[in-house]
C-alpha cells in the first residue's frame, strides 16, 4: 500500500516536474501598439485629432530549433472603420549554418526601413520617411519564397537575401486616372505569369558590427495583366542603405545613423487622360526616387536617470515622382523629435515635422504642411 502511494506520489511529482521542462514546441504572443495626438496645418488649414490606437499582435510559433512560423495582424481605426491587415505570415526553416528559407507573405529586404525599422516601438519618429508606406515607391512586403543567411568574414560580416515573389501591379489609370503609372505593391494577387526577383547584400565592415551598408535590387519583366497593354511594362528598383550605431564615450551616449536611398524605374508606357470627354494618350519617363537620413542620440552615460532616458532625433527625407505624371511631385521634409524611453520597447515621442510639396496628385503648386505629434508606442 505504502509502496503504491509512494509510487503514485513520485509519478505525480515527476509529472509536475515535467511541466517545467522546456517544451520543444514554443508559442509566443507578442506585438505592439501605439496611440497619440496630432496637430496638422496644411497650407493654413488646421486639424487636430487623438489617434485611434493601433494594435498589432504577433504570433511566433517555434516548432523546433530550425523551424518557425511568424505572423502579424494589424488592427487600426481609420475614421469609424476598423481596418485589419495581415502584415506578414511566413514559415522559415534553417537549412544550414549559412542559409534559411522563408515562404509565405514576408516583409521584403528592400533596404532596411520596412523590414527592420518601421514598427512604432523601433521607429524613432512617429512618421515614416517620404517614399515609404501608402503610395510609396519602396516595396514593403509580398508573397513568395526567400533564401537568406549570413557569413562571418573573420571580423567583418556579410549577409544576403534573395527572393522571388508575385510582384507589383501597375496602375493603368482605369480606376484612378491620377495614379496612372504607379506601381501597386499592395496588390498581392498575381496579375501575370512574370514574377518579381529581388535581393539584398549587407556588409558589416567593422568587427564591432556598428556599421552596415546594404545594396538591394528588385526587378520584374511585367507589371500588367497577361492580356493587357501593360503586360510588357517591366520595372527595376534599387536601394542603398546605411546603419551606424555606436556608443561614443566623449559624447556620453549612443549615436544612431540610418539612411536609405530608393530608385524606381518603370518602363515607359502610354496612359489615357479624359479631357472634355475625349481620351488623350500621354506618356512620361517613369522614374521616381526617395531618400532619407536620420540621426539620433541617446545620452545613456549621463549621471541623471531622467536624461539617460531621453533621445534627440532629426531626419531629412525627400521624394521625387516623375515629371509629366498626374502624380508628379517633389517633396522635402524635415522632422525633429524628442523621445522619452520608458523601457527598451516603450517610448513617448514628441515631434515636429515640416513638409514642402510641389505638385502631388491632389494639387498643383506648393503646399507646406506642418505637424506636431505626440505618440506613445509600446512593444510587448
Amino acid at each position: 500500500m505504502t509502496l503504491i502511494i509512494l509510487g503514485l506520489g513520485s509519478s505525480a511529482l515527476a509529472q509536475t516536474y515535467n511541466t517545467f521542462e522546456p517544451s520543444k514546441t514554443q508559442f509566443m504572443l507578442r506585438g505592439y501598439g501605439h496611440t497619440g495626438f496630432e496637430y496638422l496645418d496644411t497650407g493654413g488649414e488646421q486639424e487636430s485629432t487623438f489617434l485611434g490606437a493601433t494594435f498589432a499582435p504577433i504570433f511566433l510559433y517555434k516548432h523546433s530549433d530550425k523551424l518557425m512560423f511568424e505572423a502579424e495582424l494589424e488592427f487600426e481605426l481609420e475614421g469609424n472603420e476598423l481596418k485589419t491587415g495581415l502584415e506578414y505570415a511566413d514559415v522559415m526553416y534553417v537549412l544550414n549554418k549559412h542559409m534559411t528559407v522563408r515562404a509565405g507573405k514576408f516583409l521584403l529586404p528592400f533596404g532596411t526601413f520596412m523590414e527592420r525599422l518601421h514598427p512604432a516601438w523601433i521607429n524613432r519618429l512617429p512618421s515614416r520617411p517620404l517614399g515609404f508606406g501608402h503610395d510609396g515607391i519602396a516595396p514593403a512586403s509580398d508573397i513568395g519564397v526567400e533564401l537568406r543567411g549570413a557569413f562571418d568574414l573573420g571580423g567583418p560580416k556579410m549577409n544576403y537575401a534573395v527572393y522571388v515573389t508575385n510582384g507589383p501591379r501597375i496602375k493603368d489609370g482605369s480606376e484612378e486616372p491620377e495614379e496612372a503609372g504607379m506601381l501597386d505593391f499592395g496588390y498581392y494577387e498575381d496579375v501575370n505569369l512574370a514574377k518579381a526577383l529581388g535581393g539584398r547584400i549587407g556588409l558589416l565592415p567593422l568587427s564591432d558590427s556598428s556599421m552596415e551598408w546594404g545594396i538591394s535590387a528588385y526587378t520584374t519583366n511585367s507589371t500588367g495583366a497577361e492580356d493587357s497593354d501593360y503586360k510588357d511594362v517591366g520595372a527595376f528598383l534599387w536601394a542603398l542603405d546605411l546603419s551606424y550605431v555606436k556608443s561614443i564615450t566623449p559624447l556620453q551616449g549612443v549615436v544612431d545613423i540610418k539612411a536609405q536611398y530608393n530608385s524606381s524605374n518603370v518602363d515607359t508606357a502610354t496612359y489615357y487622360e479624359i479631357e472634355d470627354g475625349i481620351s488623350e494618350p500621354y506618356s512620361f519617363d517613369n522614374q521616381s526616387s526617395s531618400f532619407y537620413t536620420q540621426l539620433s542620440y541617446r545620452p545613456i552615460m549621463s549621471g541623471s536617470d531622467f536624461i539617460k532616458q531621453l533621445e534627440f532625433v532629426g531626419r531629412y527625407s525627400d521624394f521625387n515622382a516623375p515629371e509629366g505624371a498626374e502624380w508628379e511631385e517633389k517633396s522635402t521634409q524635415y522632422a525633429f523629435g524628442l523621445n522619452y524611453w520608458l523601457s527598451w520597447r516603450s517610448v513617448v515621442k514628441l515631434s515636429y515635422q515640416t513638409t514642402k510639396m510641389e505638385g502631388g496628385h491632389d494639387s498643383d503648386g506648393t503646399t507646406r504642411t506642418n505637424g506636431l505629434f505626440v505618440h506613445w508606442a509600446i512593444g510587448f
Partner: protein, 105 residues
Amino acid sequence: MKTTTNFKAAIILSVMASIMVACSSNKKPIATDTATEVAGSEVDFKIEKSGAQLWGEVCNRCHIAPSPADYNDTDWETISLHMRVRANLTEEEITKIETFLKSAN
C-alpha cells in the same frame, strides 16, 4: 528602356551572386601556419568575443537591446531564432548571445 532595365538587373544580381559564392567558398579560417594546424583546423586566431559583448554590439543595431531578465529561457529560444532570421545574424553570433541571455536572466 526594357533592355537596359533588365541589363542593370542582371548586373546587380550577378554581382550579388558572385559575392555570395565568394563568401561561401571562403568560409574556412585561413589557417596556414603550423601553430594553427596543431591547434586544429577549425581554430580561428581572432580574439573570441563573449556572448555578453556580442549582445551589446549586435542587439542594439535596430532597437534598444532587451536585457537578459526580460524573458525566460524558453522565450529567449524563440526570440533568438526569430532574430537570427529577421536580422540575418551569423550562427555564431546568435548561439553565443542566446547562451549569454539564458545564463544571465
